[in-house]
C-alpha cells in the first residue's frame, strides 16, 4: 500500500493520500515508514519542479498535503525515532513582512527531513544570532521580497560575523529580487532562485560536514 504513496502524493491527490495514510496505519504500518513514503513523494515533487513540470502552486499544494499527513502522524511518531538530516535557521529579514516564499522553503526543508527553526517575518539581526547560538545550526537562510531587504540581509550577516559565528555558519539568501549580484553585495555564501535550490544548497552544506 505504501508503495503507491510517493506517486499519489506527487500527483497531488490529497484525498487519496490521506486515505492511504489512514489505511496503512490501520493495517499496522509503522508511522515512520509512512512518513518516509511521504518524504519520497515530496522528493518527487521537487524533481518535477526542477524539471519544469511543476510550478509554485504545485509546491504549495504538496506542502499542504504533507502538512495534513503530519497532523495525523505527529502524535504517533516518537521524537527520537525521527532522524534529522540537520538543522537550519530561517526567517524574513527586518523591515520585510513577506512570508510566502519563506514558507514554501520551510515546507520543502521539512519534507527533506531537516529540522527547521522558522523565526517568522521582520526578524531583527540579533534574533537570528540568538537562534544560531541556541540551535547550533550551521545553515542560515535569509529571505526578503523587497529590495529594501538587501540592507537588512547585509546587517544580519554582519551581526553573525560580529558574534563570532560566521566561520561556523553557511548563509544563503533568497526571495523575488535576489540574484548573484545581491548575494555578493550582502556577503552571503550563496543564493537560491527557488525553494528547490534552497533545499539543495542546505543539503549540500549539511552533508559536507563542516561548513567552514
Amino acid at each position: 500500500m505504501l508503495d503507491r504513496l510517493p506517486t499519489v502524493l506527487a500527483d497531488l491527490e490529497e484525498d487519496e493520500v490521506l486515505e492511504i495514510v489512514k489505511a496503512a496505519l490501520a493495517a499496522g504500518s509503522e508511522p515512520l515508514a509512512v512518513l518516509e513514503a511521504c518524504q519520497a513523494g515530496m522528493t518527487l515533487v521537487g524533481d518535477r519542479f526542477e524539471a519544469g513540470e511543476y510550478f509554485v502552486s504545485d509546491l504549495m499544494m504538496s506542502g499542504e498535503i504533507f502538512k495534513q499527513v503530519g497532523l495525523i502522524l505527529e502524535p504517533l511518531l516518537e521524537a527520537e525515532a525521527q532522524v534529522s538530516g540537520g538543522s537550519v535557521v530561517i526567517g524574513t529579514v527586518a523591515g520585510d513582512i513577506h512570508d510566502i516564499g519563506k514558507d514554501i522553503v520551510v515546507n520543502m526543508l521539512k519534507s527533506a527531513n531537516l529540522e527547521v527553526t522558522d523565526l517568522g517575518v521582520d526578524v531583527p539581526a540579533e534574533r537570528f544570532v540568538a537562534a544560531l547560538r541556541e540551535t547550533g545550526s550551521p545553515v542560515l537562510c535569509l529571505s526578503g521580497l523587497l529590495t529594501l531587504a538587501f540592507d537588512s540581509m547585509a546587517a544580519t550577516i554582519e551581526a553573525v560575523t560580529e558574534a563570532g559565528l560566521r566561520d561556523e555558519v553557511k548563509i544563503m539568501v533568497g526571495g523575488g529580487p535576489v540574484d548573484a549580484r545581491v548575494c555578493e553585495t550582502v556577503g552571503a555564501d550563496d543564493w537560491g532562485a527557488d525553494a528547490q535550490a534552497a533545499v539543495r544548497l542546505a543539503r549540500d552544506w549539511l552533508e559536507s560536514g563542516s561548513p567552514a
Binding site: 510550478f55 499544494m61 529580487p177
Partner: protein, 376 residues
C-alpha cells in the same frame, strides 16, 4: 504653442507610435515609480502617503530634477493617495508609514486571510458590489477610502494638466485586473492557491460573476480620465507560479475577455505583469493585436517574447528593480544597450521593470533614461 506644449505633442505621438508598432524618431522613455520620488526629493513617505496632492507634485518634481529632457511619459499617471488605491486593488490590509510604521518607511501589505471561503458564497449569492460593501471595512476605513476616491475623481483633469505643463505624457491611468488577483489578495496567496486545487469549480463560478465588473471598471476609468490606456495587472497569476492546467482555465481566459472588451472600446491594456510569464507567451497572440502593451519587470524573457509575438504587441520595460537598487550606472547602461539591441527600437517603450524601488540609486535611474537617449 509653447515649447513645452510642442514637446508634449512630440512625445505623445512618439508613445502612440510605439504602442501601434510604428517607427519612432527616437525611443520613448517612461518613468514608473512610487516611493522613490519622495525619498529622492526629501519628502517623508508618510507625507507622500497622507496628502492627496503630494503623489503628483513630488513625482513631477523628481522627473524634472533628474532631467526634464530624459522622460517622455509616465506609466500610470500619479494621482491621489497610494495606500487606499492599492488596498482596493489587492483587497489586503496595508500598514502605512506614519501610522503603524515609522514615518519614512515603505508601506507593507499584510499577507493574511481576510476573505474567507464563506465570502465566495456572498459573491455568488449577492454579487460583487454587495460583497465589497461588506468586505472593504475589514481592510480599510470606508470613509477614508471614499474620500480618497472622491479626491481622485475630482482631480483627474487638473493632474493631467499638471503633467502636460511639465511635458510628460500620462501613458495610462487607473487599473483593473483579472478576478484571480483580487481573490488572491483577499484570501492570501497561501490559502487561495490551495483553493485552486480543492475548490476549483466554486472559485471559477466566483470569477465568472466578478468578470463583468472588472471589465466595466476598466472601461469607466478610461472614459472618466480620457486617457485611453488602463493597467490590467497580473502578479500572482504569473506562469512561473501557476500550474498550466489552472492557468489555462482560471487566468488566461479572463485576460482574454478583459483585453478584448477594452480594445472594443478603443482602450489599450497595459499588461503590467510581474514575475515570469515566458512559459505562456505564445498565448498572447490571442490577445487583441496592437491594443496591449506588455509591461514586464525583467523576469519575463523579452527576447523570446519578441521572437514569438513579432509585431503583435509593443513592450514597455523592463529594467529590473534590483539592478536599480544594487547595480551601478555602468550596469544599467549595459542592460539598456543590450535590451534595445536585441528587442529593436520599434514597438518598445523603455521603462523601469515594475517600478523604481524606494532605495534605487538616483544615478541608476538617471542612467536608465540617459542610456535610452543614447542607444534609442
Amino acid at each position: 504653442m509653447t515649447d513645452t506644449e510642442t514637446l508634449y505633442e512630440e512625445r505623445r505621438r512618439r508613445i502612440e507610435a510605439a504602442i501601434a508598432f510604428e517607427p519612432v524618431d527616437q525611443l520613448p522613455i517612461a518613468y514608473m515609480g512610487m516611493a522613490f520620488a519622495p525619498r529622492y526629493m526629501g519628502m517623508s513617505i508618510a507625507d507622500y502617503c497622507e496628502i492627496d496632492q503630494n503623489n503628483t507634485d513630488v513625482t513631477l518634481a523628481a522627473l524634472d530634477r533628474m532631467g526634464a529632457d530624459l522622460w517622455d511619459g509616465i506609466n500610470a499617471m500619479p494621482c491621489g493617495r497610494i495606500v487606499p488605491s492599492l488596498t482596493s486593488l489587492w483587497l489586503s490590509r496595508i500598514d502605512s508609514p506614519g501610522r503603524e510604521l515609522p514615518p519614512d518607511s515603505l508601506w507593507q501589505v499584510h499577507e493574511e486571510e481576510v476573505m474567507t471561503p464563506d465570502d465566495y458564497d456572498t459573491i455568488l449569492d449577492r454579487g460583487w458590489y454587495a460583497f465589497l460593501d461588506e468586505y472593504l471595512p475589514r481592510v480599510i476605513d470606508p470613509v477614508e477610502l471614499r474620500q480618497s476616491q472622491e479626491w481622485v475623481r475630482a482631480n483627474i483633469d487638473p493632474v493631467k494638466e499638471q503633467c502636460r505643463a511639465h511635458g510628460y505624457v500620462p501613458i495610462s491611468f487607473g487599473s483593473t485586473s483579472i478576478p484571480f488577483e483580487y481573490l488572491c489578495g483577499g484570501r492570501s496567496m497561501g490559502r487561495f492557491f490551495i483553493d485552486l486545487y480543492r475548490d476549483k469549480d466554486r472559485v471559477k463560478a466566483v470569477m465568472d460573476e466578478m468578470l463583468p465588473h472588472m471589465i466595466r471598471s476598466g472601461i469607466s476609468v478610461a472614459r472618466r480620465s480620457g486617457i485611453p490606456a488602463v493597467w490590467v495587472g497580473g502578479w500572482r497569476s504569473a506562469s512561473s507560479l501557476i500550474a498550466p492546467r489552472i492557468w489555462d482555465e482560471l487566468v488566461f481566459p479572463y485576460f482574454m475577455e478583459i483585453t478584448h472588451a477594452l480594445a472594443a472600446e478603443g482602450i489599450v491594456s497595459v499588461l503590467h505583469l510581474d514575475q515570469d510569464w515566458t512559459r505562456d507567451l505564445e498565448r498572447f497572440l490571442e490577445l487583441p493585436p496592437r491594443m496591449c502593451l506588455l509591461n514586464s519587470d525583467g523576469m519575463t524573457d523579452l527576447r523570446k517574447a519578441r521572437e514569438l509575438l513579432g509585431d503583435h504587441m509593443a513592450f514597455m520595460g523592463d529594467v529590473p528593480s534590483n539592478l536599480l537598487a544594487s547595480g551601478t550606472p555602468d550596469d544599467v547602461f549595459e542592460y539598456v544597450e543590450a535590451l534595445i539591441r536585441d528587442i529593436g527600437r520599434t514597438g518598445l517603450i523603455l521603462c523601469p521593470g515594475c517600478d523604481v524601488p524606494i532605495n534605487a540609486k538616483p544615478e541608476n535611474v538617471v542612467a536608465l533614461a540617459r542610456a535610452g537617449r543614447e542607444f534609442g
